[in-house]
């Protein structure tokens, strides 16, 4: 649907009275560029249109009924003869929604290319990934896709598409501004209400996106990537036509043989009594990645199941944004083929203190001896990370057995990291002495 309509109106001025002469042109879009953000419902649209100017005062009417354009973002400027064409003001006439008129004073007549910029809501994009682990789970193939969905009410034909990865700061939702009338509100009225359903748009988008595979292009387009400020900009080669209501999926990159590390985490404060499986890799050159940050998105992880390249599905995770050179930990959920079993073996109390002889206990020490059994039931090696938290910061510890790499994380948290061979078990013990009451001082 073409909902954006532009009329160039020419008015003749005689003294202070003016009379409308005629509608002169209905300029088509020559070029359009969409810069779509993924952290907010926002698209920056740049259109180039050729306007026909008359010498003197010109009026250009822009209307956008049934679209989601933010009228406070509208901007018009000439691309040529910038010293001869002046855009003086933009006004929103009374009691008409979705319409603005620019006043332009031109010293020349004829065709003139102009740029019209505005923000719209309703166009979104999202990254998602398909990962395929090799049979030995030592390497992974990672395919990154971008999906663009247009629900803006406007068709964009042959548009250059740019996607922005980054977290921008907005004061008002563009969708709220698009619905507001008058465009800048009324004098002394309260500001527009904050967004009410922040999660909604994404759900709609995802339901839509699931149907999207059919629109894949035969020719794989290149996506050019570059950093700007704190953001990353993906520019899709050539142009795209995205009619209202449609979704497009494009391949962003594909990389095979990325070395990965399988590891398992046991942390009762985060995962309860389950072992969670993680796949870790680094977004770096050493992992044949690291050309670009990886935008946040859903990642589905498969594994090659047999020699005939059949697949088995492992799980999925929503990844965070991953800067270049950062380590990625994909959380694939709880597993039962790696087990961590802590067992409290002994409790002893000693060093009792009393307020006065024969009176109440004011302090004591408590020693707890824990035996931790770590089992790898898989036929590939596993790295296991065990995090233990103590009730407070007054403690001392003694480790024994195959406890691997030990590290104090903060005042009351310690971590053991160890590697297990296929179908192997390791056991270690720690004895923590906790000081209670007056024994803490």
């Amino acid at each position: 649907m073409k909902n954006i309509i532009i009329f160039s109106l020419v008015f003749m001025f005689s003294a202070t009275l003016y009379c409308k002469i005629d509608l002169v042109t209905l300029p088509e879009r020559d070029k359009v560029q969409l810069t779509i953000y993924n952290s907010a419902d926002l698209t920056f649209v740049r259109e180039t249109r050729t306007l026909t100017m008359k010498k003197g005062a010109n009026k250009l009417q822009f209307s956008w009924a049934n679209t989601l354009i933010d009228p406070t973002s509208l901007e018009l400027f000439p691309l040529k003869d910038t010293d001869k064409i002046a855009v003086t003001d933009l006004y929103f006439p009374p009691r008409i929604t979705g319409l603005g008129i620019w006043n332009i004073v031109s010293q020349i007549s004829g065709k003139s290319p102009c740029e019209i910029n505005y923000f719209t809501s309703g166009i979104s994009w999202q990254a998602y990934y398909l990962a395929t682990l090799s049979q030995d789970e030592k390497t992974m193939k990672l395919e990154g896709y971008v999906k663009v969905t247009n629900r803006s009410g406007e068709d964009y034909e042959n548009a250059q598409v740019r996607l922005v990865v980054g977290k921008i700061h907005l004061l008002d939702e563009i969708a709220t501004l698009a619905r507001r009338y008058p465009p800048y509100g009324r004098p002394f009225e309260p500001k527009p209400l904050p967004p009410t359903e922040p999660g909604k748009r994404r759900d709609v988008f995802e339901a839509k996106a699931m149907l999207a595979g059919a629109e894949d292009r035969v020719i794989v387009k290149q996506i050019e990537k570059e950093g700007l400020s704190e953001y990353f900009l993906y520019t899709i080669e050539g142009t795209e036509t995205i009619p209202d209501g449609w979704t497009k999926r494009l391949l962003s990159f594909s990389q095979d043989k990325i070395p990965v590390m399988n590891f398992y985490k046991y942390d009762e404060s985060r995962f309860g009594k389950n072992v969670f499986r993680f796949i870790s890799f680094k977004n770096s050159k050493s992992h044949i990645l690291g050309k670009e940050p990886l935008p946040d998105g859903l990642i589905k992880v498969f594994k090659i199941a047999d020699k005939d390249q059949h697949l088995s599905y492992i799980g999925q995770d929503s990844t965070k944004y991953i800067p270049i050179d950062q380590v990625v930990d994909l959380n694939l959920g709880p597993v039962s083929d790696v087990k961590v079993e802590p067992k409290l073996m002994e409790v002893k109390t000693f060093n009792y203190q009393f307020n006065a002889p024969g009176r109440n206990i004011s302090g004591w020490d408590e020693s707890q001896t824990w035996k931790i059994k770590v089992s790898n039931y898989r036929n590939i090696p596993a790295k296991v990370e065990i995090t233990r938290k103590f009730p407070h910061q007054y403690w001392t510890i003694e480790n024994s057995g195959e406890f691997g790499d030990y590290k104090q994380l903060d005042k009351d948290t310690v971590r053991y990291t160890m590697e297990l061979l296929p179908n192997a078990t390791k056991t270690f013990t720690y004895k923590v002495v906790l000081r209670w009451g007056d024994r803490q001082y």
Binding site: L171, Y231, S318
Partner: protein, 373 residues
């Protein structure tokens, strides 16, 4: 819509009191020059000039309005053509009417130009800004716009629209019309880009957070002559910040409210969040020392011994400066810090950490809180 009415009645006889009959209509003067002055963000002043056909003697000028809201106490009149000869004798307000009556004395018949000023409600302005940063983010081009919102009930024919600086526009403005006008353009205004981790507001451990912890990025602008500004205070308003992409186009970086900034003061604009700097903060020691007890053996006073460790990773291939804001409540003494800090106030420490490209930096500070009860 004509909501104002000026009637000039002439009473050639001496008037004895104010309970006069407002008699015959003499002229209905057209509005001449009109000025809408918007330098006060809360009140809009309208000044309009009219030419009155005054008779010799005492004239009664009736100024009334319907469908608009004006503050009657704000109405002022200035005699322009013969200020030494024509006198304003009195002003009276008839009961139950939106009107005022001026009694004017004219020594001879004059075509007298007067200026009426009043505060009109439901008409105001907003200020908005557009900033375009260069590719290195060292300077911006700054445009400011005046948005006139006229919901006053009045249509203005060719009124002069003024703020306290910038362009003056002469425009017709209808009731319920909104008009955006470019006020000022300033190019190459220097900016300073800053990253701030405020430990009072942001999560300490990004591992425990779903999604990324963004480190706020701000642009700091100084409203001073040296920086191409400094001629006038910057009014509060929304700023939309763009950046030149080096290919003849721009990308939108974010928006923030610019707070009112007097000349020579700084303003800070929150643009967006960086996810290429990761801060992990942990308390690695927190114990009670110097514990003192009362007779019932309850702890009544103690000090603490605390250490905080902050790991900062810069994944950017550019050097950056990160401001770290830390809070220590109550009384305290610093034992040792890995980096220099500034004391912002009694409870706030500020570290400015320079980060090399792709580098990791660890900040630790060891302190005692004193006399905790």
């Amino acid at each position: 819509m004509k909501k104002f009415l000026i009637l000039v009645a002439v009473a050639v006889l001496m008037l004895t009191n104010l309970s006069i009959a407002r008699t015959k209509l003499v002229a209905l003067p057209e509005r001449a020059e009109t000025v809408i002055r918007l330098d006060n963000p809360l009140y809009t002043l309208v000044e309009e000039e009219r030419v009155l056909a005054l008779q010799k003697g005492t004239n009664q000028v009736d100024f009334s309005w319907t469908g608009v809201s004006i503050d009657p106490d704000s109405i002022r009149i200035k005699i322009l053509s013969h200020p030494d000869e024509v006198n304003l004798i009195s002003v009276s307000y008839p009961p139950g009417e939106n009107a005022c009556i001026w009694q004017m004395y004219s020594p001879s018949p004059y075509e007298e130009k007067i200026r009426i000023s009043y505060l009109l409600k439901n008409i105001d302005r907003l200020i908005t800004y557009k900033a375009i940063a260069d590719k290195d983010e060292t300077k911006i081009n700054l445009q400011s716009f005046l948005i006139l919102r006229n919901f006053s009930g009045e249509d203005f024919q060719l009124a002069k629209i003024l703020l306290d600086y910038g362009e003056t526009y002469e425009k017709s403005v209808s009731h319920e019309e909104t008009r955006q006008m470019l006020l000022v353009t300033k190019s190459s205004v220097p900016i300073e880009k800053k990253f701030t981790f405020d430990a009072r507001k942001l999560p300490w451990d990004p591992e425990k957070v779903i999604g990324n912890v963004g480190i706020p990025v701000t642009y700091e602008i100084k409203n001073e002559k040296k920086h191409g500004l400094g001629e006038f205070a910057l009014w509060s308003g929304k700023v939309r910040i763009f950046q030149d992409d080096g290919k003849g186009a721009t990308i939108f970086l974010g928006e923030d409210n610019l707070n009112f900034t007097p000349v020579d003061e700084k303003c800070s604009l929150y643009v967006g969040d960086s996810r290429d700097i990761v801060v992990t903060q942990r308390k690695i020691k927190d114990i009670k020392i110097n514990v003192r007890k009362n007779d019932s053996n309850a702890v009544i006073l103690y000090d603490t011994d605390e250490i905080i460790k902050v790991e900062i990773e810069n994944f950017k291939d550019m050097p950056s400066t990160l401001t770290l804001i830390e809070e220590i409540p109550g009384e305290w003494d610093i034992e040792e810090t890995s980096h220099a800090y500034e004391k912002e106030d009694a409870n706030t420490l500020k570290f400015n950490i320079t980060l090399a490209p792709k580098a990791k930096e660890t900040v630790t500070f060891h302190y005692h809180r004193r006399n905790v009860r």
